[in-house]
Homo-oligomer: 399 residues x 2
């Protein structure tokens, strides 16, 4: 048979999904599994945005403009204006989720062999997009001791090479929940300006901040040519399955280049663009309820974790993730053990081993990511399970 491609062989499987067969096996045994492993919120998709699709009159579901419906892009101008970001609709391109926005950024800005510097731990799928584009991810380690704050700028400068082309951040951060301070954002901006690097900023969790506000990279002055923001409605409106995101830049050349990739795939999903457009008209206080809910979950989760002997979990400032250090030998082994060898009162939990979020081999072996996307009762029950599990786990190991 013809060989598969080298990039196909090198393409990493999703570390978040690799434990799925073990979870399915546990469920077949009748065990209830609390899914804290994936960022799929349980919060309902607002009925108003689903109704916008239901009530739309669409005799022919045509291709939209390759950059997305103009009416939607103009609505998004309003959305960003409310967030203090001034844009024109010609600086916004609608994409199939944030995923496609990241792909467009890599394809338009980076050549095969170019390097993108990313603070680790980072969203694991960045590896996949980098592999597809032939780009090298250069990780800079942030540490749990200081809550995964931005590593010192000097650390970034140490790894710069002639192939360094961009810095990629996620703010507030998946998987750490860390919220970059304005000073950190300014420092990153200065770094990108000094060394003529792109600043890719994944801002999917903008609204979910508990200790301040997220500064958009688009608010950095004098970086119009450097900044590309990747955005999505997935988490904002609990609409992960819609697959609607946005690629945003004030750099006209980058926009025009990304547009060629957008034209090749014709248009972004049509029905879901209607959802996105309707979402901008949700009441001004729409985010109050989900944000309060996530904050209460975070407070419970972090408190319960830190009460367990040998566990440390910094208090995340945003998004709906936390990384905890556990008294274990190997997070991959532990997370699998939770599914195939453990249960407490007929229940267990599924976590994401943090190893999959580090680019540096060997890191994250005592860390797990927890997505607080379940209600308080479920989180409490899941924490009961974790507490018991850590008592029983044969690979228990204190730091």
């Amino acid at each position: 048979m013809p060989a598969i491609s080298t990039r196909g062989e090198q393409m990493p499987p999703s570390p978040i999904r690799k434990l799925v067969p073990f979870a399915e096996a546990a469920k077949k045994k009748g065990i209830k599994v609390y899914h804290l492993n994936i960022g799929q919120p349980d919060i309902e998709t607002p009925s108003a945005i689903m109704d916008a699709v239901r009530n739309a009159s669409i005799p022919v579901l045509e291709y939209s403009h390759s950059a997305g419906n103009e009416s939607y892009r103009k609505k998004l101008v309003e959305y960003y204006a409310k967030a203090g970001i001034s844009l024109s609709h010609e600086e916004i391109m609608i994409t199939a989720g944030g995923s496609e926005a990241i792909q467009f950024g890599f394809f338009a800005c980076l050549n095969p062999g170019d390097e993108v510097i990313v603070p680790e731990p980072f969203y694991a799928n960045y590896n996949g997009f980098a592999c597809a584009a032939g780009v090298k991810v250069v990780p800079i380690t942030s540490t749990i001791e200081n809550g995964f704050a931005l590593p010192p700028i000097a650390e970034f400068e140490k790894v710069l090479t002639p192939r360094s082309k961009a810095i990629l951040i996620c703010n507030p951060n998946n998987p750490t929940g860390y919220l970059y301070s304005d000073q950190e954002m300014e420092a990153l901006g200065q770094l990108c300006k000094k060394h003529d690097l792109y600043l890719f900023s994944d801002e999917a969790y903008r609204e979910f901040c508990y200790t301040g506000e997220a500064m958009s990279a688009l608010s950095l002055k004098g970086l119009e040519k450097q900044v590309v923001v990747m955005d999505t409605i997935s988490k904002r409106y609990s609409a992960c399955g819609a697959r609607i995101g946005a690629f945003i830049t004030r750099n006209k050349e980058v926009y025009a280049t990304a547009m060629k990739f957008a034209q090749a795939r014709l248009s972004p999903p049509g029905l879901a663009q209607i959802m996105g457009e309707a979402a901008v008209d949700l009441p001004a206080d729409f985010f109050d309820a989900p944000k309060a809910e996530y904050q209460a979950r975070r407070d419970l989760l972090v408190k319960r974790l830190n009460q367990m002997p040998g566990v440390f979990c910094p208090n995340p400032g945003g998004a709906f993730y936390a990384i905890a250090r556990l008294p274990i030998d190997d997070s991959d082994r532990f997370c699998q053990w939770l599914l195939d060898s453990f249960s407490y009162e007929g229940q267990t939990l599924m976590l994401a081993p943090a190893t999959g979020f580090y680019g540096t081999a060997g890191l994250g072996k005592q860390e797990v990511r927890l997505a607080y996307v379940l209600n308080l009762t479920s989180i409490s029950a899941a924490m009961d399970c974790l507490e018991k599990a850590l008592e029983q786990y044969p690979g228990r190991k204190l730091n």
Copy 2:
């Protein structure tokens, strides 16, 4: 500013869309423009499949399985069975349009620098996907004289190099409308087997055949490891804006590799998967009406074209495209002239210059692609315009 990528610079803009500003300017002058330039059907999206979305109860629009909803894939097994193709749902992966299916095929099977052989003229966006993947498109010329039949197999063998990795066809063909015979398909299959090449087959127009049936590459015996089919609901159900397609292969290794790219982008569009699933349950005679309509349009279009002095248009066997040779100096110049310098009774037409569908520079200068996606009255009026235009065009040139 940081430089854009080389692949971004090399990425071709859409040849179909480059004349859009001229069409917009014509409309601003009050001229009615008949759009025969793009494969956007005017036929209504079946209300039953829109209603499936309207009536769905979706409290949380969650990520689907990365391969698409299992229920939809199982439904597609029924769809392909009706077309005489036996598949399991684990050989079908749902994609964001046929576009993403082509991308997955290129990424999973081809390395940068590998060559994919494509009979020209071909669907122009293949160039874009090849550019994104760093793959070289090697064209083999088919000619209007014999209706764009498959070039002799010897022509394919002539261009084989150690980097040749795949053959890509579209059947029935966009942009020529040519319907490959079973013998041609068998010959291609033998060629791929002999030289261990992948056979990528874009089968978006399967139902629209007027002189026989399209043989799917999946029906070729002994080519389970070679064949990858790219499919889409866009044209089949007039649902171009839905962005739902499928990547199909019986080669488990290729499937598993494509799956890693699918996991990186999480899932295909959610609402439109509901449309696709409902479409399989449309009545058995659903295609009778659109097929008869397209055939009547083809008959009128081809007859009118061949009645014009100096025009030659072979009768296409499928899809809803035809390529005609016109008595003109340069199809790009002519198509622009139709929009910016011509009108007949306040009307004109928009065509796609065939130059954009050839990989060999200089070909297609006397050819245009016409998409018969308008009703008979509009096609008739558009042909009136074309007839007058050819009389007046200053660059008139007989062969």
